[in-house]
């Protein structure tokens, strides 16, 4: 365990469009940025065995998740010329159509932002201990499986 606890990435409930818009606006003073690439993961109302997903309940091993995200951040900053990076993930209930993951990467030129964004999102899905339980409209539930 590191001495310093990494900054939290967790937001209780969904991530709003307003929050994303405000995050973007905060970067106007960083005039060496030429490219922002953003990813937003949205909960789908998937139908499984005739049941439609109403919402996902997210939980996490928070301490370990923050360490993993810290490692993902450091690796990306070491590989690509990035100006900044912000990562947010929901905990608790996020309804169908709402946003549960927000990754925001900025760089002077677009290639680094695109490549880093994709890598970071893939690593968040594969390496960060977060779980989603899909709750159906009728109250049944199943644990989400990432592709």
């Amino acid at each position: 365990m590191s001495e310093k606890k990494p900054k939290s990435i967790f937001i209780q409930g969904p991530i709003s469009g307003v929050f994303v818009g405000e995050s973007i606006a905060k970067h106007q003073s960083k005039t060496d940025i030429g490219a922002h690439a953003l990813f937003l993961g949205q909960v789908r109302a998937d139908v499984r065995d005739g049941q439609r997903v109403s919402h996902i309940d997210y939980s996490a091993y928070e301490d370990m998740a923050l360490q993993k995200v810290h490692d993902i951040r450091e690796a990306a900053f070491g590989q690509y010329p990035l100006t900044c990076m912000h990562i947010y993930h929901s905990l608790g209930t996020v309804g169908a159509g709402e946003i549960s993951l927000f990754v925001f990467v900025s760089s002077p030129h677009r290639d680094a932002a695109f490549t880093a964004l994709r890598q970071i999102v893939d690593q968040i899905k594969s390496d960060v201990p977060i779980w989603g339980k899909e709750v159906f409209v009728d109250g049944d539930a199943t644990w989400k499986v990432n592709r």
């Binding site: 993961g41 996490a60 091993y61 549960s100 968040i124 201990p129 977060i130 779980w131």
Partner: protein, 83 residues
């Protein structure tokens, strides 16, 4: 976190594993390594036999068998599904 004795570990469980154990957090008798712990857990909770999970010792996952220090924080992690 609770204080655990030298012959215990702090056991965390997540996702569908937490549902089987019916708790997210408990003390558990110390086992010398992750293979031994897995065997102990399956003995008490036979459903775990067919469920995929890895074991993190003090937040480190090693897909090989790894030793468990007494008093460690050990977490049972089913496949991640964030995002």
């Amino acid at each position: 976190m609770n204080i655990v004795s030298e012959k215990e570990i702090h056991l965390l469980a997540f996702g569908m594993i937490a549902e089987v154990l019916n708790s997210q957090e408990r003390t558990w008798p110390w086992a010398m390594d992750t293979d031994a712990l897995r065997a102990d857990l399956i003995h008490i909770f036979p459903e775990l036999k067919d469920m995929p999970f890895v074991i993190a010792v003090d937040m480190e996952v090693n897909h090989m068998n790894q030793p468990i220090p007494p008093g460690a924080t050990v977490a049972l992690l089913p496949p991640y599904s964030g995002g």
